[in-house]
Subunit: 340 residues, 2 copies
């Protein structure tokens, strides 16, 4: 792991120096102990102590220049924040709590200065916010900026919420608003300069918030029968939850919590609907609850809006009931943020 | 994690189909339970149960086309084997046992057929050999083949061997022979075709064996005061162990276990020495033992040759005693396998 190769050797930046910088910025001793990390950055591997009675949650996520972010458009600190936030979103989707992460970073030497500084600033901010310190990682030199984050979390044994538990008649819910992130990306693409302060959509695109408190609450109360995070958009992710559970779904356009009109004046309603169905990167939670327990859900949970959008069915298809009453098969949008 | 994006959508390969293939090849139910994996490939994240009284070892490793392997020269199954073997080598270096791994794979659509088949074959073979099933991962499409492996292991609490425990007077040891892998790479670069059966050097370059049994034995007997794996070559890695321990070292050329002459007829002795000092990728163990306990070491441990090559000193420098008796400061070779 760390300190493992010398592919920066010979250049202006030595890899060992880069690793020391990561260790200083991300893995200070004062931060790692509380989350079970017993040996952080700098050895062959990290050591971490799981708590008795808990299961360990393991997830890894690519975050690649050109695919997941654009070098010239995305501020470095947003890249740092988001690479960790989206890995942690997978932990939220299991109902867990993040404990530490491993960072694999490859970058060109030209980006080992101020870009890296900004990246580490955003990553450190996310690491503080989600109480999830760096335990280790690996670095090397590449022409493109390549990032892979492994997030490690915990959940009380037997309490993790999987994708596979949805049953006929369960109500389908989503947190927050859908489509904001992709509309934020469209704002960013249209902007001439990097925008650091912005509206809700751009903020959500740049600095998504994994829904940890909601996920934990649903898991601890055993309310969600199935759960996942919305990373690729509802039209791609709902079929995955249904396939894992061996069921279908029927959702209503009129119920979808779309981006606020005042935030998205420049977009037509059809664009907002398209974004809500096919836009990725929202990192909201999609979950199902038995109708018998639905009364326990408030419209806001842990400060977050929760909206019922439909019902689980036995027929293995996803039906969208349009506002005019017409029914359609929901097609997976398979939305790719960087496809032209 | 898995099932998270649709960047293969639209092409001949859907990402969901690719994930199902990985799950079938690498994460079958019959394989995962025994190593504590409770939920494998296919959900937002994996679930794993640590054993009480053990610490979790976490490590991640890049394995990138052009940096760590060459698409046209390295057989796909060797890429699969080696990406896991080298991550597991970090677990061996802590004295631990591998339990499961996460695979992050990005590849061009042109390689989603027979190349991927070969890659998965080699990876599956390594996964069986080291009893380390896939618990999850992430896939996407890229022009280059990008691999990142997170390996998860365990060690009895308090028994992990760090880099930082070497003391003045400790003897310095290495396992196996040094320099074989880089000489094997030179054979491969010279070969016109992919060589699937070959001598010890090429085999070691293509299919390295993490020294798990030796690492575990040294840790369980509390014999090693410090340990790490040799991934970048002795001249780069020994200074790292010494820096972590706040000590220096004095090693002797005459003691270095170099590649066998009969295996490396085409190389001069100077080349074999250079390979032993600066060649990376051997994944042998470098460790230190107190002189009081040195009598407990046999020349072969767990079937593997173990050689004393020098002594830890207090002066913070690395001295190489040449055969002719002259003393030199050992310079970090910083060897990069793909630098021209």
């Amino acid at each position: 792991m760390m300190g493992k190769d010398t592919r920066f050797a010979g250049g202006a930046v030595s890899e060992d120096a880069l690793l020391r910088r990561l260790a200083t910025k991300l893995g200070g001793k004062e931060r790692i102990g509380a989350t079970g990390v017993r040996l952080g950055i700098g050895d062959d591997a990290a050591l971490w102590g799981a708590r008795p009675g808990f299961e360990t949650i393991l997830t890894c996520d690519w975050f690649l220049e050109g695919t997941h972010f654009l070098r010239e458009k995305h501020p470095a600190d947003a890249v740092g924040w988001k690479c960790l936030a989206r890995a942690i979103s997978d932990i939220a989707a299991m109902g867990g709590t993040p404990r530490c992460f491993l960072l694999s970073l490859a970058l060109p030497e030209s980006h080992a200065g101020s870009w890296l500084e900004g990246f580490l600033k955003g990553l450190r901010r996310a690491s503080h916010r989600f109480r999830c310190p760096a335990a280790g990682g690996d670095t090397t030199r590449q022409e493109k900026i390549l990032i892979n984050v492994t997030a490690i979390g915990e959940v009380k044994a037997g309490y993790a919420v999987r994708r596979s538990g949805a049953k006929k008649g369960d109500f389908i819910y989503v947190s927050g608003r859908l489509g904001e992130a992709v509309l934020g990306l469209r704002e960013l693409r249209g902007a001439k300069n990097l925008v650091r302060t912005a509206g809700a959509c751009l903020r959500k695109h740049l600095y998504p918030e994994p829904r940890l408190a909601l996920g934990r609450w649903l898991a601890s109360k055993r309310l969600a029968t199935a759960m996942m995070d919305l990373s690729d958009g509802l039209s791609s992710d709902l079929p995955r939850l249904c396939a894992a559970s061996g069921v279908g779904a029927r959702i209503k356009e009129a119920l979808l919590p779309m981006a606020r009109v005042q935030e998205t004046k420049s977009f037509h309603e059809a664009e907002r609907l398209h974004a809500a169905l096919d836009g990725g990167d929202d990192y909201e939670l999609l979950f199902t609850v038995s109708p018998k327990k639905a009364h326990l859900l408030q419209p806001r949970i842990a400060g977050l809006r929760v909206t019922r959008i439909g019902t689980i069915t036995t027929k293995r298809e996803i039906v969208l009931v349009r506002k005019v009453g017409r029914e359609e098969h929901l097609r997976a949008g398979g939305w790719d943020p960087f496809r032209p």
